[in-house]
């Protein structure tokens, strides 16, 4: 049994590992790579296994993806998207459903009930494919991308009434209902159903806001990473089951949970933990879509199938273009929007099966339609390529920056790692100067407290590459390292230098030797913990001894400059000698060298601008000359 599982895993992963890099290499995007891999290993290709079962399992990847998208979306941004979601989304579903139903009714001469159901199902697009493609190409934040997302969100909502409607449209004897679709709310009157649905949504919001944070805090305290990951998955799976039980779309539920948690301190940690699962499951899902394409049926009636696919895409494309125009999108964005949504969606598979069991459609028709939907999904990446290569260049841009920066959840420019006493001062100075930083800390109590004080602190272990990425290291300009442990600092610097070479690193160093190590690693902005404090104290000591304030201050300035230079010199020099000097002896020797060097520095330094000795001397000489003359 487990061998069979591993065998399957081998085939799927192998197919993905081979085909995706090839597809990427040719600039075709990962989705197409997965789909082709699926076609090759599927029952109609090499018949290595898989198909529908895997697809059901892999659909969870879509759920995870929506959770992640939710995490990226602050609630107020969602609120700002209400017009595209409700306006554009609703009209897309209505117009496309109407057009497709009418065509099916007139040309396909099916009963009106069946036509209506087909229209509704085919009006949906593929959330998984569209979002993955837009995300991969960095187009999700463009006008067209955002509107696509809005429409997909509405489609997820629209599935609920569809499920309720299908049984009412039954014309054939009802097959025994698929047990998968039995929900707790089945058979309840509509108002009770509504109440339960609203109650569930409210529960997710309230629990996400007030309970989940506390649970994560307790888990974070264990500092066991895998337990945190397990908890994150548990959360998503729990919501998925809850949603299924009350008959809502799990994707919608987790999306909502994501939005609620977008403001939480665990956001980046959750992102980093869920991301790999999402990636793999989504890939699996695309493979299974590819594998499910029934080439047997297609070769049986090639003209019918391709004709239907073309018609589906054309009808949806036209409807979308007209709506996009009506809602005031620029032409290039409208084309991106329309091309990205002109395909059938993965919900079609489930809904057609449900419609069949509800007695609205005959098996012959659902089989044909499922093939059409799967093929249209496979066409989606090709359409994106056409759009990207042939259409958008005519507009001179890919419309990347169409959206104002503040519309997107803009990643911040600075990341501060460690928000103890040290990081806290840095963060406050930046904040007081109007610069918002992303703050990371591992102490969950500290995070909790600082959040209450209004700081944007996230719980997370900055030594993890994925977490840094989730915190926006790719887009940030500077990274402030304010933790104490030299080994942790060393690792963090290494990770950053390797993965984010553009980042300006500013690091704290506890001791002189730590500063040397950082300089060796190529960090130039190094700050020793006690240096400035000690200098200030020393300055005050000089004043107490009778130095004038400005004089003492200048001495300290000269000393600082000299010491910083000398630090850098010693950092280079010490390598010749370290072989025979152990740590502690080295420290003593360093100190010795420093002290000997220091003695005359302040005198030597030229501070002579205000020195009038030479002027007086010359004036005296002049006076003598005059006296002689």
């Amino acid at each position: 049994m487990s061998e069979e599982f591993l065998g399957q895993a081998l085939i799927y992963l192998g197919a993905a590992v081979i085909s995706v890099p090839i597809a990427k290499r040719f600039g075709l995007g990962s989705v197409l790579g997965y789909l082709v891999a699926g076609m090759i290993i599927g029952p109609f290709g090499m018949n290595l296994g898989g198909g529908r079962d895997v697809m059901h399992f892999a659909e969870f990847g879509v759920v995870l993806m929506l959770f992640l998208i939710g995490l990226e979306l602050q609630p107020n941004l969602l609120w700002r998207m209400r017009v595209p979601i409700l306006g554009l989304g609703c009209s897309q579903v209505l117009v496309s459903a109407f057009l497709i139903s009418a065509l099916v009714f007139m040309i396909g001469s099916l009963p009106w009930q069946s036509s209506l159901v087909i229209g509704m199902v085919l009006a949906l697009s593929s959330t998984a494919i569209t979002l993955q493609m837009l995300n991969e190409k960095g187009l999700l934040n463009t006008d067209g991308g955002q509107n696509s997302f809005a429409v997909l969100l509405f489609q997820d909502i629209a599935i609920i009434p569809m499920l309720a409607l299908f049984p009412l449209l039954a014309i054939y004897p009802v097959v025994d209902t698929d047990p998968q679709h039995t929900t707790l709310v089945e058979g309840l009157p509509a108002w009770e159903h509504t109440l339960i649905v609203l109650g569930t949504v409210a529960f997710i919001i309230v629990a996400g806001r007030f309970i989940v944070g506390h649970i994560f805090r307790i888990i974070a305290k264990t500092r066991l990473r895998e337990i945190f990951t397990a908890a994150a998955l548990l959360l998503v799976i729990g919501i998925t089951l809850l949603m299924t039980v009350v008959g809502l779309s799990p994707a919608l539920g987790t999306f909502l949970a994501g939005v609620v948690l977008a403001n939480s301190e665990y956001r980046h940690e959750l992102e980093a933990d869920i991301e790999p699962f999402k990636g793999i499951l989504l890939g699996l899902f695309f493979i299974s879509v590819g594998a499910s394409i029934d080439f047997g049926m297609i070769s049986g009636m090639p003209i019918t199938v391709t004709g239907l696919v073309a018609a589906l895409i054309m009808v949806k494309l036209c409807a979308l273009l007209i709506l996009g125009r009506y809602f005031g999108m620029a032409l290039d964005q409208n084309i991106l929007f329309s091309m990205s949504l002109a395909q059938g969606g993965e919900f079609g598979f489930v809904l057609f099966a449900f419609a069949e069991s509800s007695g609205v459609l005959t098996p012959a028709i659902t089989d044909l339609l499922v093939a059409v939907v799967a093929l249209s999904m496979a066409c989606a990446p090709l359409m994106m390529i056409v759009n990207e290569r042939l259409i958008q260049p005519r507009f001179g841009s890919l419309g990347n920056d169409k959206r104002k920066a503040d519309d997107i959840d803009r990643k911040r420019d600075v990341i501060i790692v460690g928000f103890g006493d040290f990081g806290n001062i840095v963060g406050r100075l930046l904040k007081a100067s109007g610069v918002e930083a992303t703050l990371l800390d591992l102490d969950s109590d500290n995070v909790d407290l600082l959040r209450k004080l209004g700081f944007n602190v996230f719980y997370g272990d900055a030594s993890r590459l994925d977490l840094l990425r989730a915190a926006g290291a790719e887009h940030a300009k500077a990274l402030v390292i304010a933790i104490r442990d030299p080994d942790e600092i060393h690792g963090l610097v290494e990770t950053c230098k390797k993965n984010f070479p553009h980042l300006k690193i500013l690091s704290r160093a506890s001791a002189r030797t730590d500063a040397y190590d950082l300089l060796d690693q190529g960090v130039t902005l190094v700050y020793r913990d006690s240096f400035d404090t000690a200098l200030r104290l020393g300055t005050d000591a000089l004043c107490e001894l009778g130095f004038r304030q400005h004089h003492a201050y200048r001495c300290a300035q000269i000393f600082r400059k000299h010491d910083e230079e000398y630090l850098r010199e010693l950092a280079k020099m010490r390598h010749d000698k370290t072989t025979y000097l152990n740590q502690s002896r080295r420290r003593i020797r360093d100190l010795e060298e420093i002290l000997l060097e220091e003695r005359s520095v302040i005198d030597e330094q030229r501070d002579v601008g205000w020195d009038t000795d030479s002027m007086i001397h010359e004036a005296r000489l002049k006076a003598e000359d005059k006296g002689k003359a």
Partner: protein
């Protein structure tokens, strides 16, 4: 006084709040990347007023024309520029028996005033810019430097973007002419400000010496 001076230009730029500047920003942008110019932003280099004297003197020695560019603050130069002068123009280097490091170089002031030109017409109630800049002129003279009339942009407070661009173009023209050695400072001697009559001062390219 040699009429034509050419060579490398060091611009000592002194504006304590460049982020708020309107006029000096435009002027500086016009010239800072000129191939014959070293642009030296003093408030950026020495935020703590701790000036590296040796470095500054080296810079000065390596250039032929020194430009002070600054807004007029209280009829004078901004404080860091004054501090810079106090520190860098040392006795025995810039002046005095052995001090001749700057002799023969040219010092040009480029400044902006908030008030309009009619506040600097001289007479009973006001002083001209040249009168106000007498300390700088005297200092230049003590160090053996040539001090042509300053390049003054008046009326910064209410200046429109177009006018700023016009002044910036003039500034660039002067810097360019200096690098080519085709500006006649001797002719400018009695002008209240250099940028009054540039067409007359700057030789047409064909007539270049």
């Amino acid at each position: 006084m040699e009429p034509y001076i050419s060579g490398k230009t060091l611009i000592l730029f002194a504006h304590p709040a460049l982020q708020k500047s309107r006029v000096n920003k435009v002027l500086a942008t016009a010239v800072r990347d000129h191939s014959a110019v070293t642009f030296h932003d003093l408030y950026e280099e020495y935020p703590d007023y701790h000036i590296d004297i040796a470095r500054e003197q080296e810079l000065l020695e390596a250039h032929d024309v020194i430009v002070f560019q600054h807004p007029v603050f209280w009829y004078s130069i901004p404080s860091l520029l004054k501090e810079w002068l106090d520190q860098v123009f040392e006795h025995g280097w810039a002046y005095g028996r052995e001090g001749n490091a700057l002799a023969g170089k040219t010092l040009l002031s480029v400044m902006t005033t908030g008030a309009r030109e009619d506040a600097y017409l001289g007479g009973e109630k006001s002083h001209t810019i040249r009168e106000l800049m007498a300390p700088i002129e005297a200092m230049a003279s003590l160090c053996g430097m040539v001090y042509p009339p300053p390049f003054v942009v008046h009326g910064a407070h209410l200046m429109t973007a177009e006018t700023m661009e016009k002044h910036a173009a003039d500034y660039l023209r002067v810097i360019d002419a200096i690098s080519l050695g085709c500006i006649d400072f001797a002719k400018a001697k009695s002008l209240p400000r250099l940028n009054m009559d540039l067409d007359n001062l700057i030789a047409k390219p064909s007539k270049q010496p």
